[in-house]
């Protein structure tokens, strides 16, 4: 029974029905429509953000790309640009990534290679719990609990490595620790479960033959990992990290609550304050009433959309066909 059909198996969709049934046609149209709806949704997001952003961009008195201002109080005199938003968004996300990437790699290795098989599942659940905490709670915790605790460390970093631009004194005082650095640490905690869960799955799929082969050659556990698990899972790990990056770029409320702002432009220090795209939009959400100023924020949202679009597209191309989940 099976043998007769397996000639074209593997691809569930590869089959040409001899008889066209109306039910099939309807169902096919329905599912295709659902798939199409997703494509259309993305197109609409881009389109509508663009439509709403263009009038404000046209009315912008500053250069949108290089201005550090974001003054929208007077609709007739809009002055806004994304220089600082971009710097702060990228810096916070990079800090988060630099912390979260090695740690998630360690966790994924621990869960797949080191932890006792019986405990691997509950341990994995514990890491996943980090993803169950809503971002507003991360924000509360970040500004009221973690920030004050990190403050001495940040002051030490600043006074010891202040000669290095990243650790130079920023445009806000460190006191209160509402800095890019604190945000990065909190974002890192939020990224851990995201990066870990994908990486874990990829590592699990390392061919047992390879691992056993390496063991048979007398490799230590670490050597097994280095020669089999890591090369096998590298693209998946990098793709997972890019997904995490995408999430960090768009994180809103946690950043809004934690990050202090500054009237001075950002100067590429981790102890700067400011806004990310997302937190800037959310900070003004209560004042969305006039079309032109609102459009200024929508244009920031458009840039964020493009940014995450690019990051996700890159993640996908790195993952290639095999690790794209």
């Amino acid at each position: 029974m099976i043998g007769a059909m397996t000639s074209d198996s593997g691809q569930p969709g590869v089959r040409t029905a001899a008889v066209r049934r109306p039910g099939d046609t309807i169902f096919r149209t329905l599912t295709t429509g659902a798939g199409l709806a997703i494509v259309i949704a993305i197109a609409l997001i881009g389109l509508f953000l663009l439509i709403k952003a263009v009038p404000s961009l046209a009315a912008d008195k500053d250069n949108f790309l290089i201005s550090a201002n974001f003054v929208t109080t007077d609709p007739n005199n809009l002055m806004f640009g994304i220089r600082d938003l971009l710097i702060v968004t990228v810096l916070t996300s990079l800090v988060a990534l630099v912390i979260a990437m090695p740690v998630s790699l360690g966790i994924a290795l621990f869960l797949t290679q080191y932890a006792p098989p019986r405990l691997s599942r509950p341990f994995a659940y514990m890491v996943d719990l980090l993803a169950a905490v809503p971002s507003i709670v991360y924000g509360l915790w970040g500004i009221l609990v973690l920030g004050p605790a990190l403050e001495p460390f940040e002051i030490w970093l600043n006074s010891t490595f202040g000669w290095f631009p990243l650790f130079a004194t920023g445009n806000i005082p460190i006191s209160g620790a509402g800095t890019i650095f604190t945000v990065g640490v909190v974002l890192a905690a939020m990224l851990l479960p995201i990066i870990t869960s994908v990486t874990r799955e990829v590592f699990r799929q390392t061919p047992v033959m390879q691992i056993e082969g390496a063991l048979a050659l007398g490799a230590t556990k670490w050597e097994v990992i280095r020669t089999t698990v890591l090369p096998f899972g590298r693209s998946g790990y990098i793709a997972a990290s890019m997904l995490g990056l995408g999430r960090a770029l768009g994180e809103t409320v946690a950043v809004l609550l934690i990050l202090h702002s500054s009237p001075k432009p950002a100067n590429f220090s981790l102890f700067d304050g400011g806004y990310t795209f997302a937190s800037k939009i959310a900070s003004a959400a209560s004042e969305f009433s006039q079309p032109l100023p609102t459009g200024a924020y929508i244009s920031a949202g458009l840039v964020l959309f493009v940014l995450t679009f690019v990051v996700n597209a890159v993640a996908r191309s790195i993952a290639g066909g095999k690790a794209a989940k």
Partner: protein, 303 residues
């Protein structure tokens, strides 16, 4: 692993196994320590955060009013009322979102697995990935631009649900897709062999087989959108009363309750903030737990 074999078994040229050299041992040790350390580091924020939230918020949850009453008519400084209106709001918005997102998501997944070929399928897969990367604030802005700004509709819980749909769709599609791919090909073929049409095969054979996995995915997706704060800031107003009407009026969800009570200077406000945070975490964990249980008891089916 080292040599304890008898003389007879020994190969001709000694030594067969060299003792693992010191530097390799040390490297191995360091790696082990680092990996275990990484796991412990992950537990630090989790434990710290949970303890902070529980310590500051558990008192609010002890009162029975918390689960059964709204905050209507309660003064900012009174230790009274509850989060019932916000719990209801959170559940309503999430459920309405699921009602829209699940059918579309499952159908799209069926398309990708059972029908998808050619360019449209590739584009759809790509777009699902992109959609899963769309930040919640961008989804909220889009709905704002579409519903509020273009159609001139007012703020409503339905607008929030629509923004959540955008966030939930890719999760549902991805998990359903994965589950459908796990359904053994033989099942489909057996069905076709019996002359069952393709659509009926999918609806009657493939979907039921994958059902529990799909349910798990949906529960996880609901847990994910439940805690979203950005859409509620832009798309709906705060209310202290219970509101069951999705289309009209203000509706509070737990994130919105947290965000509004932050501006309440009184100790009662702080308690509400942390109490709501704890409630939200518990709610999300419940969804996760149910998802875990469903997937656990049904794992046999798919393998």
């Amino acid at each position: 692993m080292t040599t304890t074999a008898s003389t007879l078994d020994r190969p001709a040229t000694p030594p067969a196994f060299q003792a693992v050299s010191g530097s390799r041992k040390i490297k191995n040790m360091v790696a082990t320590v680092l990996v275990v350390l990484a796991f412990l580091i992950a537990l630090v924020p989790l434990v710290w955060l949970l303890i902070s939230v529980i310590a500051r918020g558990y008192q609010a949850l002890l009162s029975s009013d918390w689960w059964t009453h709204s905050l209507k008519g309660v003064l900012p400084k009174e230790f009274a009322g509850g989060a019932y209106h916000a719990i209801i709001g959170t559940l309503l918005q999430t459920i309405v979102c699921a009602v829209i997102a699940v059918p579309v998501g499952v159908l799209a997944a069926i398309y990708l697995v059972e029908y998808g070929r050619g360019r449209l399928a590739r584009v759809t897969t790509f777009m699902v990935d992109i959609l899963s990367g769309v930040p919640s604030i961008v989804a909220a802005l889009f709905i704002y631009a579409l519903f509020l700004s273009t159609f001139g509709l007012g703020q409503s819980a339905f607008a929030v649900s629509m923004a959540l749909v955008l966030l939930m769709l890719p999760v549902v599609v991805r998990s359903t897709e994965e589950m459908l791919r796990l359904v053994p090909q033989e099942l489909r073929e057996a069905s076709y062999a019996l002359g069952v049409p393709k659509w009926k095969t999918i609806v009657r054979i493939v979907l039921p087989t994958a059902l529990s996995g799909v349910v798990t995915g949906v529960m996880l997706a609901m847990a994910r959108v439940m805690g979203e704060t950005a859409p509620v800031l832009v798309l709906v107003g705060y209310s202290k009363s219970i509101n069951f009407n999705i289309f009209d009026g203000n509706m509070t969800s737990l994130p919105l309750l947290i965000y509004s009570e932050l501006n309440n200077p009184n100790p009662a406000g702080q308690l509400r903030v942390w109490g709501a945070a704890l409630t939200l975490i518990i709610l999300i964990m419940l969804f996760n737990l149910v998802a875990a249980l469903v997937s656990r008891f049904s794992a046999i089916k798919t393998k």
